[in-house]
Amino acid sequence: MGKKQRKKIVLPPELPPEVSEDEIEVSDEDLQFVNENRDYAGFVSNLDTKSITRHVSRVADVKEDALEFLYEKRLRKKSLEKESEQKGLEVDRVDALPVKTLDGKLVYRTVPKISQHSENVTGGDQDIGDNEADGVDKSLVKLTKPEKRAKLKRMKKEAKKQAKEVENEEVQQTPQAVVLAEVEKELTALEANERKKYKLAELGTALLTDPESNIKSLKEMLQISKDGDHAIAVLGLKSLLAVFKDIIPGYRIRLPTEKEQEMVVSKVVKKMRYYESTLLSTYKGYLQRLIALEQQASFQLVAIRCICTLLDSVPHFNYRESLLAAVIKNISSADDVVRKLCCATVKSLFINEGKHGGEAIVEAVQLIAEHVKVYDCQLHPDSIEVFMSLSFDEDIGRTEMSKADNKFKNKKNKKRKNSEEPSQENDKKKSRKELMSKTRDEVLTPETVNADFKAASLTQDIMERRRMQTETLSAVFQTFFRILKHAMQSIAARSEGISSSSAGASGGHPLLAPCLNGIGKFSHLIDLDFMGDLISYLRKLSGGGSSSDGSSENFLKQLTVSERLRCCIVAFKVMRNNLDALNVDLQDFFVQLYSIILEYRPGRDQGEVLAEALKIMLCDDRQHDMQRAAAFIKRLATFSLCFGSAESMAALVTVKHLLQKNFKCRNLLENDAGGGSVSGPIAKYQPYASDPNLSGALASVLWELNLLSKHYHPTVSTLASTISMLSTAQNQVYHSNVSPQQAFMELSLEHEPFDLKVDIEKPNHKRRRGSGSSVANSSGTNPGITDWTDEDTVRKRLSEHFSLIHDISENKRLRGELDRTTWSLQLYEQYKKQKKTKQNGSKPLKMK
């Protein structure tokens, strides 16, 4: 108390009127102080609190510094209040479980408290709308004594009233009233919902039109979004999202420290600070709300969508970490929509580096790495596939390198000068020259200094970016290697027979395929030191490695063919990207590919992967052993006999490529199962050999080509026949520029219509032969279309034919009928005649 008093004395205009005279207990110290400084403490005696409040409430009358002080104090109070509010919210959320009402609404204990706060605030707001200063002071100036008393009285009265009402209700509780009350409640609820909706709209538009002055209504919106009603809450969240997306500034808000708050600042700055702090606190509240709602099933989609949109649009803003955490947590969600949303957000985060300066990328990648670690690599492949949209700028390093080079050159120049110096010391002429050069250097210095300065400022940025990139890369590769290692470990566990059932339950390795793709993409960035381990892992995964028979069988069961193929591809990519200087022969992977080709099944495995493997391993590699090439040629030709046209096309393209490169392998095309010295040490073809070098394929003949030239697919058959002509058409070294992948893609695209055509064609041929001349006019180059028209004409003609036959038979029947009637008529006439003649005959007889 005493402290306060002193303060008042020091700063007279800032006398808060809330303390009544009775309550103040003046200490001796104070008294002494006042007595000593009677000069400027004298006015305290004749202070009129009411007038002061009146004065203070009118801005014009108050002194500048007083006003400022008031503002500052108010701000401090506000922030205190906010803090307490947040604390209250957090504590209560944890402490008290929400109460579920009969309607199914969740009521948190904090809600009423906060609403009180917000009501106070909103009350202040409305005042602000009228007269800002006035409102500010009202919120600051606490109730005076009489007002307090009045309020107390009012409260007492209200309590009494309520008690009476309760009594009344208890007395008059009849079923009718209850029903009525319920109906009324529903109606009011509906109305309230409508009102809330309108209010949301109003507040939103107001905020969008003038965010600075209406910033306080954010809190109100946040309050509405905490509404019990689902629809209203969703609407609130969405409108808040729209508002935040629009008004969040393009920088990160840093709240002023206490020191800064104490400093005297201008009005504009204060306003700005207030705006920012309100925005930030509301944003925080909104995020907390979102993250809390994200746990609830009914709100999950909305919450996730809001989070994703926020992260996508304002990745630079405060509290990005919590947004990121929420997104990464859901990146492998079982719900397709949620997962897609999260993945798309992370991807856009990776692509739009400029929005947030790369920090978010580092955080996101590290979070994903952590996520993978926690879930022990059992996630949806999408969560790793996002890494594919990362891009690493190699030029960052390069520019610096070039700069270093320049520096080095400069040094060299200097060195040269230095070395020249001693020899020229005696020569005056040359020393003058030197002077000249020195002066020239001095002339140059301002420029160079500028350049240096620039370089320094740039390099700092570059250094920062490099650091971030290295961190990102290390996290990415950490994830990749963890996945590889995990796959390895599970395989090892299985091959040992330990916990085979549990490993079986965990299933395959969902992350392996995208991980391998990622390694393939970023293989040029891998440190050389990791290379050995990486390759050995890949070798083991692709099925080679330890090569004891039992374990290799386990490998086969463990990984799918496409995954093993991918391993081979990645190994080759890694080698190619890093070791252009040294040509390393990946023998083990060739052995693997050789056996994988046999295990390939068209429906089950991915043909594209096989085609890619053929391309990378067999077509792109410059050198091959003759034996190995021959073995692959033979196996691929056999392979293409039994599989679909697309696969066999890819295989044949590879065969052609290999034959064109390896002259000696064209012995395979000769019709002589030669063997002998050409075929090397193995005199006989061994189709079951696992090592291509030991298969002795040179001793065999490519009889498969002859069969393939009768292939049902025209492209395959023509290619097969051209390959079989390769040996006779000498010196025509035309290299096919079609890769196996392209061939595969073309034919697999063509697959569908081709099958259809075949289906249509065959029955038509039969009919044509059967019906002979009736369908003579189908001289179609395009059988598909004409055949359809044929069918129509045939149908027409047939119907004509049958109607004619029908007509004829009808005609016959009618004619027969006619004949019969005419005949009966004739008979009748004859009978008549006979009768007549009889009568005539008798008559004349009688007459006679």
Binding site: L528, M531, G532, I535, S536, R539, S547, M575, L579, A581, L582, N583, V584, D585, L586, Q587, D588, Q623, D625, M626, G680, P681, I682, A683, D691, N693, L694
Partner: protein, 187 residues
Amino acid sequence: MRPLDESETTQVFEKMFKFTGNNLKNIVDNPSHEGPEPNPGRYCFRLQKNRVYYVSESLVKRATNIKRDNLVSLGTQIGKFTKGGKFHLSIQGLNLLAANAKHKVWLKPTSEMSFLYGNHVLKGGLGRITENIVPQDGVVVFSMADVPLGFGIAAKSTHDCRKMDPNGIVVLHQSDIGEYLRMEDDL
């Protein structure tokens, strides 16, 4: 001429295993088509005057007719035991090793000659190299056209080869086909 005893066999196989790895099985199991017998026999190792020969069984049977002193050579020589009792591979067995080699090195055409004069293989002369070579492994040296030129011992692993300077030794020379001219009398 006699079969190898226990210690000799292990010595020979150990040496060959360095070069061929698991393919050593192929060398031992290789069916021979020599001789008039309808069903193919096997190859076996025979010792004659400190030299080890890789001979088909049918040939061994026929060679028993010849007195040990008069028998100069039979089958393919793959190496010899030194006076100290160590086993050395010789160049005649190159084809056998090359067909079953585990680790290979291909030489650039420019450095073939140097190797054939008995020099070590330098990094600069390396055309290609098999992945996963460990130091002290046996390596068969090929020309780029896949003609076996000789063999040696790896001095550096494949991994280390990447960072070496061009003058570093990759493969230590043991034997090359130049020996047919240089050491005609000794072979």
